[in-house]
């Protein structure tokens, strides 16, 4: 072995190299991990969307005549959409707040985001019950199957996001975040924005196009 002064050494009592903060610059490790995870989720929805487009192209008329008016965008679902979009704003406000070490502003905004997320889920569930009463089920031909599958998996991802926000809220309330250390907040907000973008696409596709 060359006794090279450039060689990297660990001394006896130094801890294993820190992983959470990239001191050499560049994107933080947990952020990169979350972005890659979001990429995989995009591909999951891509598979579902591909199935939707293919199914829709092969089944005319679409929507089928018995369901031609059932997906009305100007109903409770529009309120739910507005709430989800608003929650992305409050989420971003929370990120900006913690970046400037404004802990109170961060906590306020993250709580609002969390609550808005829960409200979205409740409105979605309520909307499902209305549609169910009007006769649209998972078994209502390809139309029903694709509708509930796409919106259902989106809802499941919102639920996962709500849990993430809950964990972030809890950790925030116990003072674990600062301007220098808040990777989890950045990561959770990236996920939350992703969930919102998917909804905007879904809502446009299912209700308008």
């Amino acid at each position: 072995m060359t006794a090279d002064s450039h060689a990297l050494t660990t001394s006896e009592h130094a801890p294993v190299a820190e992983l959470a903060h990239d001191s050499r610059g560049g994107i933080g490790t947990p952020i990169l991990g979350m972005l890659l995870f979001i990429a995989s989720e995009v591909m999951f929805f891509a598979g579902l969307f591909a199935a939707y487009f293919s199914t829709r192209a092969a089944n005319k008329p679409w929507p089928p005549t018995e369901f031609s008016e059932i997906l009305n965008p100007f109903s409770i679902i529009l309120v739910a959409t507005a709430i989800l979009v608003a929650s992305s704003f409050t989420c971003q406000f929370a990120v900006w707040a913690i970046r400037r070490n404004d802990r109170r502003g961060f906590l306020r905004n993250i709580s609002v985001t969390f609550i808005l997320g829960v409200v979205f889920l409740l409105l979605q569930a309520y909307d499902y019950s209305l549609l169910f009463d009007e006769g649209l089920t998972m078994g209502s031909g390809p139309f029903g199957t694709t509708y509930y599958t796409l919106t259902g998996f989106h809802g499941a991802h919102v639920f996962g996001g709500v849990i993430m926000l809950g964990v972030v809220l809890y950790r925030g309330m116990s003072g674990q975040f600062s301007a220098r250390h808040h990777d989890a907040v950045e990561a959770a907000s990236l996920y939350w924005h992703f969930v919102d973008v998917v909804w905007i696409l879904l809502f446009s596709l299912l209700y308008f196009l």
Binding site: A7, V16, L19, L36, S40, T146
Partner: protein
């Protein structure tokens, strides 16, 4: 909150050796457990193959008089081999080797690494349990609907659902592993290790991880849709309800074609580590090799419908052209390997011998695949034993021989002991002969008209002799595993002590003890090329 000083020296084993292994987040232990778990499923999948071959040795139904049971056998054989053996085995070798080769102390997310590992035996138990809850799935590992949907004469019962759930778990484990590999490779390389100084093994794991990340979620979506059709009255894939059977095939193969590159690229990485070391020359065309690997990864996403040429629902010229094109980067790699050996100084240790077996078998597998790229020829060959020959030449002759090359090469690093060379060579000879005896005749069977997935065949079709030969070969393969298993046990106990670098190798994992300490490295040599250890040994002038 109280803080505690961290110490790299582990606390004395107060809770026992087993607890240490079960709760570890050390990539080296996790990698070894991946390898052991995968090997167990290799044996289970192999026994299922022997059941299939025993039934097919002669025309007539000998002992599997219920054809449905035969269908379960090959369905489970393939599902276990693909999802519980090859993919995780290569992930496990990567798990062990990649952090060491880039000079990192561990993977980026060690706890998620452990989670990825433990999902596998759980998923395996779920899948195998299908035998005991009313029957294993029997619609082939491809599980095409409508056959894989619910209903009489289709796939009623829990078996197909357990298959779906098991595969979703395995897919999730893979995706988490891919995220781990990518973040580790991008963020935790030692100083001086630029991307174009990484070992090829790391590059192949990188490209494989991109494929896993982007393709696996698509099969998750297909499986989810199949589950909905089976259990919630969905209409994705059943034509009677307005669905499309071909839609499933498209979504399924969009993953399953890149999956075959997931199954071969890390094995190619192993070969690219072994050949230079045992030829005493660098890998010929290092950069071209990397671009070829990336090219295969990218092209691999564009050819999926070549599995569907006979459906009448595919834009044939596009997929045929791109399938032919994949031969070009694959050929580049083949030539790079051959010219690494050319004008080298070859030492025929067992890793090199398995690498040579890989080269010949993968060459045959690549060539017979080109036949299927030609659409009219594929009309004759699709769904016949020709395809069974092709897939085993690339997956066994390629991936499995590559796995054994990797095991013989890195066993000394993992355990501090050498595997016996004599037993290794005996394993190779029996396995090589057995493999070719099993699968070469399948070319003949396929082109002469024997379809796949049939429990029995007509005695007057002229297929009897080749089938018998294939069965004998299959049992030879099984026999070849005995010297291997014996070798492992004997070597663990009393194999030759390996030392840091028994092979006079080039890459960083050999710059630390065998086995390495928990944090991997006390010192790292200077990294100025893709062969840092070679440079340290011979000086830069000789590079």
């Amino acid at each position: 909150m109280a803080t505690h000083a961290l110490s790299p020296v582990a606390a004395p084993a107060a809770r026992g050796w087993l607890y240490g292994w079960l709760t570890t987040t050390d990539h080296k232990k996790i990698g070894i457990m991946y390898v052991v778990n995968s090997f167990i499923f290799f044996l289970i999948g192999g026994i299922l193959a022997l059941v299939v071959r025993t039934e097919l040795a002669q025309p007539g139904l000998q002992f599997l008089t219920d054809e449905h049971v035969y269908n379960e056998m090959f369905t489970m054989h393939a599902s276990i081999m693909i999802f519980l053996f090859v993919i995780p085995m290569l992930a496990g070798l990567g798990n062990y080797v990649v952090p060491l080769q880039i000079g990192a102390p561990d993977m980026a997310f060690p706890r998620i690494n452990a989670l990825s590992l433990w999902m596998l035996p759980l998923a395996g138990v779920l899948l195998v349990s299908s035998f005991f809850v009313g029957g294993a799935p029997a619609a082939g590992w491809t599980s095409y609907p409508p056959l894989s949907l619910d209903g009489p004469l289709r796939s009623p019962g829990a078996g197909q659902d357990l298959w779906i759930v098991s595969l979703i778990l395995i897919g999730t484990s893979s995706i988490l592993g891919a995220i781990n590999f990518l973040v580790t490779i991008f963020k935790m390389r030692a100083p001086g290790m630029t991307l174009f100084r990484m070992p090829i093994m790391v590059w192949t794991v990188l490209v494989t991880s991109v494929l896993v990340l982007m393709a696996t979620p698509v099969i998750t979506s297909a499986l989810v849709m199949l589950f909905i059709d089976r259990n919630y009255g969905g209409h994705f894939f059943d034509p009677v309800g307005g669905g499309s059977a071909v839609l499933y095939q498209n979504v399924f193969w969009f993953y399953s074609h890149p999956a075959v590159y997931v199954m071969i690229l890390p094995a190619m990485g192993v070969i690219s580590e072994v050949l230079p070391v045992f030829s005493r020359k660098p890998l010929f065309g290092y950069k071209a090799f990397i671009f070829a690997t990336a090219g295969i990864g990218a092209l691999g996403f564009s050819v999926w419908a070549h599995h569907m040429f006979t459906t009448g629902a595919v834009f044939l010229p596009f997929f045929s052209l791109l399938t032919f094109m994949i031969a070009v980067p694959t050929g580049v790699k083949m030539f790079n390997w051959v010219f690494t050996m050319f004008r080298g100084q070859l030492t025929f240790s067992t890793p090199l011998i398995f690498a040579l077996g890989f080269l010949t078998m993968f060459l045959i597998g690549g060539i017979n695949g080109a036949f299927s790229a030609s659409v009219p020829v594929d009309f004759a060959l699709h769904d016949t034993y020709w395809v069974v020959a092709h897939l085993h030449y690339v997956l066994f002759g390629g991936s499995v021989f590559g796995v054994f090359a990797g095991i013989y090469y890195w066993f000394p690093k993992m355990t501090g002991r050498m595997l016996g060379e004599g037993l290794g060579k005996i394993q190779f000879v029996i396995m090589f002969v057995g493999f070719n005896l099993t699968f070469f005749p399948m070319h003949m069977l396929g082109i002469q008209g024997m379809p796949r997935r049939i429990a029995d065949y007509a005695g007057d079709a002229g297929w009897n002799d080749w089938n018998l030969a294939a069965t004998i070969g299959g049992f030879l393969i099984a026999v070849s595993l005995l010297p291997f298993i014996w070798n492992v046990f004997v070597s663990l106990r009393s194999g030759k002590v390996a030392g840091d670098d028994p092979w006079e190798a080039n890459t960083l994992e050999w710059a630390t003890s065998s086995p390495p300490p928990p944090y991997n490295f006390d010192h790292l040599p200077e990294i100025r090329s893709e062969r840092p250890l070679f440079d340290a040994r011979h000086g830069r002038a000789e590079h």
